[in-house]
């Protein structure tokens, strides 16, 4: 998601697994015009100003090939480029400026099981191999890689500042039994660390958000676990669970559930997903935070479903059909299922993003489904007042200030958001941040922590529109 033509509307870039990639130009009123982009077989999609020329580009991960950049040439034209030096056959991608030098560095994670299936064992002996690579962009536009992990099943990558030190952490969500990775940016380099006591077993998606508005981000990862415990639901999963028992090992931190990492008073993280009943959302893919009802509290939305004849041959069409799960943040630490929001699509969702597509101040939802048309859900919850914030640093090559943290100070608390290019499962994020406001809240100021660690603030911004802060 991003305003590719600078007309004020957020446009969409969709990756096609079986068909072409495409741009959906937002023509207003939730009408979109599709422009195919030759290519396909894509995985992660990111809209960001990758080359730092001021216009938003589109970056596609292609699984068996290095990523491809569709450089925005203006006028709806794109030029296909590779990122020089980025050789990893990445499945998942993240962009950010961890070193604060003003340009966008990249992180790629491979999906080794898929590479092995598609390319054979040989891929491991190629120069790029697999794993997690951090690519630092040089002044010359080259990407210089450093390997952070030798192997990966990286369905999700997340750059987020968990410890509020102004520098990001990098979380890698691995499929299967490979434990997730965590790295922290320390003294100018990435260092592996282990912040979590439990992680999802087959991590499909990662997102972070301040669900309790205490200024500290929580992390949510999705996994595969039946939504309901009635026998009919469990029976549809049963053959898969029986045929593929989960191996565990000494010290294994993984559990086959969604995990909500909440920082405790002692500074350690504890999994609160089970207590808050957000541990089971089906065969889950993208799970993300967003203030869908614009009440100042981040809600959760998870898309799900699986199509695989070898796993679900006992179900019609080999498909596990499940309703996507919307969960309202009740404000007391709990989330409550919100089927009344109308987001319970039965399509097999994969990527998902939330942003205000019709410029009415609330979050709409886009879901890219597998083998079914993509869906856009217009937000008709008629929630409260909101404020959207965009950051610009035109004098750098990180023009959308990815990696910044924005805090909205109100008389009823502080709301925190991060400017990111991606989260969830292979999903992009708009660099336009959405803040729903608690009922009757008065906005006092917007505080910005830029990627280089410097801060600025805007006093008493007007609510209801888009605040663009230029540095």
């Amino acid at each position: 998601m991003g305003d590719l033509d600078d007309d004020g509307d957020l446009d969409l870039a969709m990756g096609g697994l079986a068909g072409d990639d495409s741009i959906l130009w937002n023509e207003g009123g939730l009408h979109f015009r599709r422009q195919p982009l030759v290519g396909g077989g894509s995985r992660a999609v990111i809209v960001a100003d990758v080359d730092g020329d001021g216009g938003l580009d589109v970056l596609f991960a292609r699984h068996t090939l290095p990523p491809q950049l569709h450089r925005n040439l203006g006028g709806g034209r794109f030029g296909k480029l590779s990122l020089p030096g980025f050789e990893l056959k990445a499945y998942s991608l993240a962009l950010g400026d961890p070193d604060g030098d003003g340009d966008l560095d990249a992180v790629g994670g491979s999906y080794d099981a898929g590479l092995e299936k598609d390319l054979g064992y040989n891929f491991m002996f190629t120069h790029s191999g697999g794993g997690v690579m951090y690519y630092e962009r040089t002044d010359a536009g080259e990407y210089v890689g450093r390997r952070l992990a030798e192997g990966a099943e990286a369905l999700a990558l997340l750059l987020t500042d968990l410890d509020n030190d102004g520098a990001p952490e990098l979380l890698t969500g691995n499929d299967f039994g490979l434990p997730d990775y965590a790295h922290t940016w320390r003294d100018g380099d990435w260092a592996a660390y282990s912040p979590f006591r439990h992680t999802s077993h087959s991590t499909m998606s990662l997102d972070s958000g301040d669900v309790d508005n205490d200024g500290v981000l929580e992390v949510y990862s999705t996994d595969m676990k039946p939504i309901a415990r009635d026998v009919a639901t469990l029976a549809r999963w049963r053959p898969v669970m029986v045929r593929t028992p989960v191996d565990t090992f000494r010290g294994d931190k993984q559990i086959m559930e969604n995990v909500l990492q909440v920082r405790t008073r002692g500074g350690a993280y504890a999994n609160a997903a089970y207590d808050r009943v957000v541990d089971a959302t089906g065969w889950s893919w993208s799970g993300k935070f967003g203030d869908l009802d614009s009440d100042g509290l981040l809600d959760l939305y998870v898309v799900n479903g699986m199509i695989a004849a070898d796993l679900f041959g006992h179900l019609p069409g080999g498909e596990l059909v499940e309703a996507n799960q919307a969960m309202k943040n009740a404000g007391d630490g709990d989330f409550r299922r919100a089927p009344e929001w109308g987001l319970g699509s039965l399509s097999s969702g994969r990527a998902m993003s939330m942003a205000d597509l019709d410029n009415d101040g609330d979050l709409d939802v886009v879901v890219n489904n597998l083998e079914q048309p993509a869906e856009i859900f217009e937000n008709r919850l008629c929630g409260g007042v909101g404020l959207q914030v965009e950051l610009r640093q035109p004098d750098t090559r990180n023009t959308r200030a990815l990696g910044s943290t924005v805090r909205l100070h109100t008389d009823k608390g502080v709301l925190t958001r991060e400017v990111r290019a991606s989260s969830g499962y292979l999903s992009g994020d708009a660099a336009r941040l959405h803040f729903g406001l608690p009922k009757g809240a008065v906005v006092e100021r917007v505080e910005i922590l830029w990627p280089d660690g410097k801060g600025s603030s805007v006093a008493r911004p007007q609510t209801g529109g888009v605040l663009v802060v230029r540095r």
């Binding site: 026998v231 049963r238 029986v242 191996d247 565990t248």
Partner: protein
């Protein structure tokens, strides 16, 4: 120690029988050395059947139990002459529930020490069918306890044990119903050979208490351990409680029996 009546000095007020009557009840009434040899041979045969012949653990265990049965029958016939029917049944129950508790210890070791998946942490005989084995056994326990109460084994521990065992059996009934429903569902999906065993019960992680519609948004769905621990651990603790209560009930009953002569 040979079969027949216990020597009078052991039954005296100062003897160990009076102090630890449960030990007397568990006395195998067979010479120690041949018994140990037989036990060793049985364990060796069990290992041979499992590792050399490839027999499933539950099958080898069943063979071993069948081989040990004559020893037990001999002992319990002798017990019957010494203690009378109620106490003999109590002794049988202690031995069999002890074995059942061992079954749960093995499961616990398989899961927590050997890191086997829950579906493969099925103990010694539960792999035959974990639902039927535990459902049948727990209702046998309840039936025997009712019979023992009618036969005079009545003390505060025995009543507590009956309540505990009844609740335990009720949970197994709930699990049995779900198991049979699951079998029906799987048959309806065309995969009747898929195991329907191992669903969560009333307690434990993803059990009825934790996730049932009635308990949602109440404190009941958040009771630590009762709503968070695995089914395997839940039933380890059910049985640990059961064997401890049984031991206490038996101890009190036997002491009373001694005092009454």
């Amino acid at each position: 120690m040979s079969g027949g009546r216990l020597p009078m000095e052991r039954r005296s007020a100062g003897g160990y029988v009076a102090r630890y009557p449960l030990l007397a009840l568990l006395d195998p009434r067979a010479p120690a050395v041949p018994l140990l040899l037989a036990l060793s041979a049985g364990l060796a045969a069990w290992g041979g059947l499992v590792w050399a012949v490839g027999m499933p653990i539950w099958g080898a265990t069943t063979v071993l139990l069948a081989a040990a049965l004559p020893v037990g029958v001999r002992k319990w016939r002798a017990d019957l002459a010494v203690w009378g029917p109620a106490t003999t049944v109590l002794g049988v129950l202690v031995v069999l529930q002890g074995f059942h508790s061992l079954e749960h210890v093995v499961q616990w070791v398989q899961y927590h020490v050997l890191y086997q998946p829950p579906s493969q942490s099925s103990g010694l005989i539960s792999a035959a069918n974990v639902e039927w084995v535990h459902f049948v056994w727990n209702w046998i326990v309840v039936t025997l306890l009712v019979g023992l109460a009618r036969g005079g084994v009545r003390n505060r521990w025995s009543w507590l044990l009956l309540a505990w065992a009844g609740a335990h059996a009720a949970e197994h009934t709930y699990m049995m119903v779900r198991y049979l429903q699951m079998k029906q569902e799987l048959a309806g999906l065309g995969v009747p050979s898929i195991s329907a065993q191992g669903l969560p019960g009333f307690f434990g992680r993803d059990g009825w208490l934790a996730r049932g519609p009635v308990t949602q948004n109440t404190f009941l769905c958040r009771i630590p351990v009762a709503t968070t621990t695995s089914r395997l651990d839940v039933h380890f603790w059910w049985n640990t409680g059961e064997i401890l209560l049984l031991a206490a009930a038996a101890h009190v009953h036997l002491r009373r029996q001694f005092r009454s002569g």
